[in-house]
Symmetry: C2
Subunit: 222 residues, 2 copies
């Protein structure tokens, strides 16, 4: 794709993501996207056949940020459960602040009203969580009987529900602060009781892993 | 209210709940509710000023089933965490099978597209969960540091997210079967490690408490 076409698509998707996140799919028209992006409707229809096509592109654009995001949580010197917690903080922050992530979550919630099959966004999250839990399992850091794949599936669904409901009920800025409640609810189950020579389970909840404070994160957006 | 008016309202709300649950709010017209209930549109507008009014009445009707539901989980001879687990199975079943509960969940998900303030359905669930956790706490059955109110808030949000996403991704019939995954993720955290003289934490997950098999439940619907 030529640079100019790429820049046009980028500005269209950024405008569409902001609008979908704020106003929802039904509340956003192609004219709104045109006005916000400064591109003509003709240009929008040239790049995307329909509003459904734009929604799908926004979702795929969000998915495309994942490989670089997940790569940042591969530092083997940090215990895998700590990396999982740090990743959850990054996702919660993106759900509160990043237009593309917010648009993806809202489009998913409104999927019945969108005449196109939106891909399941949880596959990527679940794959990343399974990988980290498998590393924790291999390192003897999971409680007996905790199986990485089904646990990751359950964890991701419950976590997403927790984040979206906390946002809906308490506001977007509340989510990150509530994550310690979330981890207090599940981390002891993942780790099992404290064993000799190990720090208590709760410690990893309350102490943010080094190198993962918000200011040290690259933004989720490419 | 006269019996006849009450019967009309009941048939309207049952029809509306089925349609909202199946087709969503935007996909359901007052004419659809008229056709399904066998009542005229005039009758509908006589009882409810608008489609928003019907949606609100469906949500309130769902809320009204709660007191009798929760009363069934007050048997002090059953440990409170077992009652919490049994209640979760009943809620999951209602989310899969009961039109009123399904309509309430779908209307909540679509609330941005409904021009009326729908009440937060999680207050009732959280109150019930807080009460059961407080009983468990008083009986020394909670792990140290587990505070009933914030834990119930977190539990309810994550549980609802888990149920709705599992339904969306795996189908309504899958939810009840996946609840053991859910409780394996959170019950050990609630109970703490097994102590001498106590059964292992996992046991309560896998064994359904006596008297709570589906066939022994009264239906959630009044």
């Amino acid at each position: 794709m030529q640079d100019r076409a790429r820049a046009t698509r980028r500005s269209l998707l950024e405008a569409a993501a902001c609008l979908f996140a704020q106003q929802g799919y039904a509340g956003t028209s192609v004219n709104d996207i045109s006005a916000r992006s400064g591109r003509t409707s003709g240009s929008i229809y040239f790049h995307y056949a329909s509003k459904e096509g734009i929604a799908l592109a926004v979702v795929h654009d969000g998915f495309a940020t994942w490989p670089s995001l997940v790569t940042r949580y591969e530092d083997q010197s940090v215990p895998p459960l700590e990396r999982l917690i740090a990743l959850s903080h990054e996702i919660a922050r993106a759900l509160a602040e990043d237009s593309l992530t917010r648009a993806g979550a809202r489009l998913w919630a409104e999927r019945h009203a969108i005449n196109v099959q939106l891909p399941d966004p949880f596959v990527l999250w679940t794959t990343a969580a399974t990988r980290l839990l498998a590393q924790a399992h291999a390192g003897g850091q999971l409680a007996a009987g905790v199986r990485p794949a089904p646990t990751a599936r359950t964890l991701v669904r419950a976590f997403f529900g927790f984040c979206t409901l906390t946002e809906a009920l308490d506001g977007p800025q509340a989510v990150n602060g509530r994550l310690s409640d979330w981890w207090q609810l599940v981390l002891p189950s993942l780790q099992g009781g404290p064993r000799s020579g190990q720090a208590p389970a709760r410690r990893a909840v309350l102490v943010r892993p080094s190198g993962t404070s918000p200011s040290e994160h690259k933004p989720l957006r490419r």
